[in-house]
């Protein structure tokens, strides 16, 4: 194709583009951005394992099982975060099918790890104490996870998520897993009910929050279209 065959830019489009023609820095690869966001959680969980292991205190959940679970959750969270940021870049999206599989896999992993902890170290607690401890756990996981989710959503929206609901849901699940990877080391409750309702539930809630945040961004895009 020669220059003569090529279409000139319409005047209206040229004028619109010229209004904002500042140089831009291309986004870093999704893996690098995901690592930067997930790294603090990894440092916290590693430090927690090292400090508490050196103190020789009764470890409770912070056993080898707890540390291993944290590592698996962190890896799953990092993977989902990477997928969320990748999904947000046009032409790099993983697609709805793979996103659903990854999302289900990540959330299921937390469920299975919760059952594993319960089987190895679990002890029940019922009544009003269970509710108070559980709501405290969910609150703290939210306090750790929501900033992760907010930053991940911001990073995703800096690109152009074609399926923002999926990007948001993946980022939400990632935030839940990263939050749980650190907090469950400090949580003394290992009974199945507590793990399922408050820890697993917090991750599911953050997944929903992420998907809803994605839907809002989609609506904003439609309005702006």
């Amino acid at each position: 194709m020669t220059a003569h065959d090529r279409e000139p830019v319409p005047a209206e489009l040229r004028a619109a583009v010229r209004r904002d023609f500042a140089p831009v820095a291309p986004l870093s690869p999704p893996s690098r951005r995901a690592l930067l966001l997930a790294l603090p959680a990894f440092i916290v969980l590693t430090a927690a394992v090292l400090v508490l292991a050196r103190s020789r205190e009764p470890l409770g959940a912070l056993s080898l099982v707890g540390g291993g679970v944290s590592l698996f959750e962190w890896l799953a969270g990092f993977g989902l975060l990477w997928l969320a940021l990748r999904e947000a870049v046009p032409g790099l999206g993983v697609g709805a099918g793979r996103a659903l599989a990854a999302l289900s896999g990540g959330v299921l992993l937390q469920l299975l790890l919760g059952i594993l902890i319960w089987q190895r170290t679990g002890a029940g607690l019922t009544g009003s104490g269970a509710l108070a401890v559980g709501s405290q756990c969910a609150t703290i996981e939210g306090a750790i996870g929501l900033p992760h989710l907010a930053i991940a959503t911001w990073l995703a929206l800096r690109a152009l998520p074609i399926r923002p609901r999926w990007s948001g849901a993946l980022a939400g699940a990632a935030a839940g897993l990263l939050a749980d990877s650190t907090w469950h080391l400090a949580c003394a409750r290992n009974d199945l009910e507590h793990l399922l309702v408050w820890h697993f539930g917090a991750t599911v809630a953050m997944t929903v929050v992420g998907a809803v945040a994605g839907s809002f961004s989609l609506r904003r895009q439609r309005v702006g279209a």
Partner: protein, 187 residues
């Protein structure tokens, strides 16, 4: 516009994109010149009859401009640009509330179609254009991107957000349906 840019092959698009991100307006014009026609044809496969495709082409390039930082250095440009075009086309369709799936486009709405090699000579362009218009949208997209734009199935998968296997299946099914339509047309 410099002559080296004029003669640049299609593979230079990632380099042009780097210049565009650095604020080079000539690079944007070059990218527009190379992609506009293809994007227009692709948008016609996505949108219902009567849609203002020229407006969508401009919207696509506006979106490309607004999200130009989202192109990662070294990645191919066309799947990125076509994914944005697809997004714009689908948003327009949703906004208008019309369902394009399975709609038959009148022939005069369809762009110039380079005929598929197997169909070429057997049937005329009118029959092929009508037959393409009868295909379900995802299959029509896949056929268009592969046979007209020369996308690999991997690139089609990236644009449509599906697996490479699914892209192959869509294109295969669409080609089978297209053959059936063409046989009927041939009578």
């Amino acid at each position: 516009m410099s002559s080296d840019v004029d003669e640049a092959p299609r593979d230079d698009l990632p380099d042009l994109m780097v210049r565009y991100q650095a604020g080079d307006e000539a690079a944007f014009e070059e990218i527009y010149g190379r992609l506009a026609r293809s994007v227009r044809g692709y948008l016609r496969t996505l949108t219902p009859p009567g849609a203002d495709v020229e407006d969508l082409v401009q919207n696509t390039f506006l979106q490309i401009h607004r999200s130009r930082q989202s192109h990662l250095p070294g990645e191919p440009v066309r799947p990125w640009a076509f994914a944005i075009a697809r997004h714009v086309g689908l948003m327009a369709r949703r906004t208008s509330g019309r369902r394009a799936r399975n709609e038959v486009q009148p022939f005069d709405e369809l762009p110039e179609v380079p005929t598929l090699s197997r169909a070429a000579g057997a049937l005329d362009r009118i029959s092929l254009g009508r037959a393409l218009g009868t295909l379900a949208k995802p299959g029509r997209e896949a056929v268009w991107l592969h046979h007209v734009e020369g996308f690999s199935f991997r690139e089609i998968a990236a644009v449509q957000g599906i697996s490479e296997t699914a892209a192959k299946v869509r294109a295969h099914r669409a080609i089978v349906a297209l053959r059936g339509e063409l046989k009927e047309a041939a009578g």
